[in-house]
Symmetry: C2
Subunit: 338 residues, 2 copies
């Protein structure tokens, strides 16, 4: 790490971006240099006030114009604007060309090589040209269903197949999440929302691809499907009432197939009334290995944590487009020296 | 990785070394160039015959003289001779000065900075001088009680304390392990064996130190104690009969203390009649995180796996003395290209 504080800028101050900002503020080694958000309701505001900090105002500005925020000797940008790599590629290039490392929560950037080989190659080349490292990460994709799977596989002599199931009880989660998973809709409405692309978690195929490459599988195909979880009885949350027979949430499955066999199975179930959250990883091989996270990993808290914890690791990494697979993901102590 | 096969030498062909050799033989990217063992009963033999390979002989020799094995364009040595860093430091320097990277299962090398600051500094300097990387790793220390803890911590916004309990049911394990944990002895005999240092797992303080540094704790002290686990009823295994009141095995606890508080608690229980094996990691903080490995991680299989899986990662690492904390521990596919 540098001997002065690491100068960071937050790009995108939505719910995840705000959580990232609040967490970055607790790290002694970081200096928040500014933030970027196109939203006219946010630009021009004080960042501390925007993220609801108790010690606001901070005297740190939110800019609508990225160039203004990046033109200040910035070391690293934490980028949280969209799930779609095509939408954010321009933003990423702008950060790279300002000489900044980038940690992004863009799901499609977590392992973009299969879906976007050209953008991946360009990002990698441009990052190397500017001597900076770029990574897409978060709890999922980026950690629970891929990095943790490959880390567990370090204890295996042979891995024949991998199965990961992440069950999230959405009952206690925020309202947008309950809406996003279709809780309270009818099955027909759910299916039309799936068809329209509004009900969909991004990142499962990216996790499958990362795990496949890490385990040396040569997949012929990655197949993904999205199904409703139907409530067996009435479920009432703070935000929604789901009658029996209505949709309680979503079950999304991505399978990695080699020679007609499922070698990788990833399943994400997010629904109200689940009763509990749990992440389960099962590796079949020598020896068989299971790993569970009872209670699961809280999506919003953990994604902010993983993005911020990746900062010192990324600054130490080789220039180029990295993934959490390459990086020794760990904790960023608040007391760490700059 | 190199474009030719990676030339590896096995240093020490005991039970773990033999398991490492058999596993290395399955990896397409590796070429076994030889082995080293001082034991006159092993030196001069064919390595394949020595490790009980079905396709022996391999035409690969076991040398008593390390220089002979290392003088053949070797890229990396897997070193499995002793738990004590002082005993193996000379062997490690010899490998480094032959221009070889080293993966060692020496427990005290897993995180040697606190107990052996001078040897650590010399190893680091010499490895940098020769442009090679050196790491001590294995399942414990090196993985379950440290690397996996720090990896889980990547999902945490704050970690106030860490508790790791590894329970191993020794009933199905090999005879030397059952003897090593004192199964079947009387409590007095157990205590005298503990005093003599013959009943002791090596590596708990190393794991505590790695986790403390990774979490940013400034420990005042690491305290370790070894206690017998007393059998409540008779336990019969293939190798030993333990009467009620006798010793079933060992419980070893290491605590990392800061300002009078236990911030890290690591507990290793290995005993016959445990009924099940399980590893449990609990991080208190924001959020609380638990991670369990139901069934545990088989010590012998996993240590060989972790050592071999570390090979490509170490060859990609910066020169110097590394630890599993720094490395993106993962799986080494058998189909990986050289």
């Amino acid at each position: 790490m540098a001997k002065r504080k690491i100068r960071v800028v937050q790009y995108g101050v939505g719910p995840i971006g705000a959580a990232v900002v609040r967490l970055m503020r607790t790290k002694n080694a970081l200096e928040l240099a500014g933030a970027i958000d196109m939203d006219p309701a946010k630009a021009g505001k004080d960042l501390g006030e925007l993220v609801g900090a108790e010690d606001a105002p901070w005297g740190i500005q939110v800019y609508a114009d990225a160039a203004q925020a990046l033109g200040q000797g910035v070391d690293l940008v934490v980028h949280c604007t969209s799930s779609y790599l095509k939408e954010v590629a321009g933003q990423l290039f702008e950060c790279i060309q300002a000489g900044c490392c980038v940690v992004s929560t863009c799901e499609e950037l977590a392992y973009p090589f299969r879906k976007y080989p050209e953008i991946s190659a360009k990002l990698d080349a441009e990052a190397k040209e500017w001597g900076v490292a770029v990574v897409g990460t978060g709890v999922n994709p980026g950690f629970i269903m891929d990095k943790l799977v490959l880390t567990a596989a370090a204890a295996a002599q042979r891995v024949d197949s991998a199965r990961v199931v992440r069950q999230v009880d959405a009952s206690q989660r925020r309202e947008p999440l309950q809406k996003k998973i279709g809780a309270g809709t009818d099955p027909d409405e759910f299916r039309s929302q799936v068809a329209a692309g509004t009900i969909k978690h991004h990142g499962l195929p990216e996790s499958v691809a990362m795990v496949a490459d890490g385990l040396g599988y040569e997949l012929d195909d990655i197949i993904e499907r999205v199904e409703p979880v139907i409530a067996a009885e009435r479920v009432v949350t703070e935000y929604v009432t789901v009658e029996a027979g209505q949709v309680a949430g979503v079950q999304q499955i991505a399978r990695g197939i080699e020679d007609g066999q499922d070698r990788i199975h990833m399943e994400l179930k997010m629904f109200v009334g689940a009763g509990s959250s749990i992440d389960t990883i099962e590796l079949r091989g020598v020896p068989n290995l299971s790993l569970t996270v009872p209670g699961g990993t809280h999506g919003d808290l953990a994604t902010a944590a993983i993005a911020v914890n990746a900062i010192p690791v990324l600054l130490d990494a080789n220039a180029g487009l990295r993934t959490s697979r390459d990086l020794p993901m760990c904790y960023f102590p608040e007391t760490a020296l700059p």
